[in-house]
């Protein structure tokens, strides 16, 4: 090509290309460097926790003991049980509510101001700091509705906290279902609710499941709202068991029991000046991290499987 710009000789072009390539190599390396630092941080956090907490992690008593004034004897059984019970409550409340809301917003909502209000609302709630949910619970649930500092209050609070996560995940999952499926359902004689319940919802299940898992993983690690409602940090007993020997075989006393959860136990231990308690805190942190990383990894795996299926 003859040069239409008189100054563009072959040598000049080569210089420009070489300079561009140098800049690109540098910038790509910067990007990779940032990535490596972030990964190194994650690894550093995990390794630091495992190394600090090793003494208690390998001691089986840690998992079955109650908290104690003596750091070598303190364990996380009450925290683990509390976490499980609170998570159960959270799931039972948040999943139906969140999935229903997501289905409404995607399948039923007309394009009017009310729908816009609800959508803005959900986005806003996603950005509200978690401790504000704690204040909501303190003012409204603990004192207003007089539910007290119980498992039920904590479950309700955390359910509200992760509600936006589940709603958004449900919406994305339902949105990605092709319209053909619904048309096929209508063609077979389904009405709207049958189409949603029997065709759309099952198809959206993996996506919704991903959202639920991510939401619950987040709820497990949240300490701030639960502290605010008054979860106690020195619980040397377990809430009453849900199953019992006499009829009716299930009781709900555990819902109204005081409790503690793992992130709070960790916070309590790390706030003590004695270094021995920090070992316990580190060990609790490892348990927490393993749980949340496993749940997040599961969610990512489900999402990848889903993407592969859709291809």
């Amino acid at each position: 090509m003859t040069a239409s710009t008189p100054s563009a000789s072959h040598h000049d072009l080569a210089l420009i290309v070489a300079a561009n390539r140098r800049v690109d190599v540098v910038m790509a390396s910067v990007g990779i460097l940032i990535l490596m630092i972030a990964t190194a941080m994650l690894a550093a956090v995990f390794i630091d926790l495992v190394a600090s907490g090793w003494a208690r992690l390998v001691n089986p008593d840690f998992y079955i003991n109650f908290p104690s004034r003596h750091p070598e004897e303190a364990g996380i059984i009450s925290a683990m049980v509390g976490t499980s019970l609170v998570m159960l409550t959270t799931a039972v409340i948040a999943i139906p509510l969140g999935v229903a809301a997501g289905l409404y917003l995607e399948e039923y909502a007309p394009k009017n101001w009310l729908t816009d209000l609800i959508e803005i609302n959900v986005s806003n709630l996603a950005g509200v700091p978690s401790i504000i949910y704690g204040l909501l619970a303190l003012g409204l649930f603990v004192y207003g509705f007089d539910l007290g500092e119980t498992v039920l209050t904590a479950g309700l609070t955390l359910a509200l906290l992760i509600l936006p996560v589940i709603i958004v995940a449900t919406r994305e999952a339902v949105r990605s279902i092709p319209q053909d499926l619904r048309e096929a359902a209508y063609g077979l004689g389904a009405d709207k609710w049958q189409a949603v319940r029997l065709y759309v919802l099952p198809a959206a299940r993996p996506g919704i499941l991903t959202g639920i898992i991510v939401g619950l993983a987040r709820a497990i690690g949240e300490a701030a709202p639960v502290i605010t409602i008054g979860a106690l940090t020195f619980i040397a007993f377990l809430p009453p068991a849900p199953l019992q020997a006499e009829p009716p075989f299930i009781n709900f006393d555990w819902l109204t029991s005081p409790f503690t959860v793992m992130p709070i136990q960790m916070f309590n231990w790390v706030s003590r000046p004695q270094a021995e308690f920090h070992i316990n805190a580190a060990a609790t942190g490892v348990v927490l991290m393993v749980m949340t990383l496993a749940m997040n990894a599961l969610a990512i795996y489900i999402r990848l499987r889903l993407r592969r299926q859709q291809r």
């Binding site: 926790l49 007309p110 701030a224 502290i227």
Partner: protein, 317 residues
């Protein structure tokens, strides 16, 4: 006004269901209506949550503002609610919050932008598929764990280089928070950059730009509103973060922007009070809600600006 569209009367048309009784169709229509309304109420519940939050924050801090003037609340530089001569200057807490958030953003903005540029302009799609889950894992670590890390690993490490650093300080939690919100700012920025049409980039390449030049001169200006949204939303997260600062920054409210000393942020104060004995209705109890109200207003402003910007960048393309 009907919140539910496409009600089943259209679907349950007798012409489609030949031979079905009136009774059957009417019953099905009723079930459909019930289902639709139930779903609507579930969605409307989210509005109730917001109403609840605003109601509780205002109701429980109103008595506070009857005793402490708004002027004093906003301008006093001491926050000593439990002392004999109680002072209630929320700026004390806000200064600490802003300092930590500022440090976090100083880490998260360059790193997030750099990472976003790398992921959207340079990285092989396979790399991106591996990196994004990794960032999600980073985001999923519980914040108490980051707090522990900041207090017992980062602070001693920094003290090697900065001997004047006290045990509780704002620098360590700020840095850790920066890495904590990095995945969020990186992914929102990257979404903004990826939504810029390929044509614009190709125009840059046709002019002989390097990838970096395309990224900085074409893509970033084009996606600017989305990128700004990412940082504002990141700021909102940093302001609202509780456990990292409660553990590593100490619980001593002191006014100032010195990152080498510990100071209580709004969130740390609320947690500290909640852990102690809070007689319902006392001034200390109300001060918690007043502080919470201040926090809510700050994050609300950031969130609204951020969402508005995000919507704008989605509409343009």
């Amino acid at each position: 006004m009907n919140p539910v569209n496409s009600l089943p009367s259209r679907d349950l048309d007798p012409r489609r269901f030949q031979g079905a009784s009136e009774e059957f169709l009417r019953r099905r229509a009723l079930w459909n209506q019930l289902a639709a309304y139930l779903l609507f109420f579930a969605a409307a519940a989210s509005v109730l949550v917001t109403v609840g939050i605003v109601y509780v924050l205002i109701r429980d801090s109103l008595p506070f503002f009857q005793q402490v003037s708004l002027g004093e609340f906003l301008t006093d530089t001491q926050w000593t609610p439990v002392f004999e001569n109680a002072r209630f200057g929320v700026m004390t807490l806000v200064s600490a919050t802003l300092t930590v958030a500022g440090i976090a953003l100083a880490v998260a903005i360059p790193a997030g932008l750099g990472l976003a540029i790398y992921l959207s302009e340079y990285a092989h799609p396979k790399v991106r598929e591996t990196v994004k889950p990794l960032l999600e894992l980073l985001e999923g670590v519980p914040t108490v764990v980051y707090g522990f890390f900041a207090l017992l690993f980062v602070t001693p490490l920094l003290q090697i280089f900065l001997p004047g650093l006290s045990g509780f300080n704002l620098l360590a939690p700020g840095l850790v928070m920066g890495i904590m919100i990095l995945p969020y700012t990186a992914s929102v920025s990257e979404d903004a950059m990826r939504s810029v049409p390929m044509g614009l980039r190709e125009a840059g390449y046709a002019l002989g730009y390097s990838r970096f030049r395309v990224a900085s001169r074409v893509v970033i200006p084009a996606g600017l509103s989305g990128i700004t949204a990412a940082f504002i939303l990141g700021m909102s997260r940093a302001v609202g973060e509780t456990m990292v600062v409660a553990i590593a920054a100490g619980q001593n409210p002191n006014f100032g922007f010195n990152p080498l000393e510990g100071a209580a942020t709004i969130t740390a104060y609320i947690v500290q009070m909640a852990m102690g004995d809070l007689p319902h209705g006392s001034l200390a109890y109300q001060s918690v809600f007043a502080a919470g109200l201040a926090l809510f207003v700050i994050t609300l402003v950031f969130n609204l600006i951020g969402f508005y910007l995000r919507r704008r960048f989605r509409e343009v393309y």
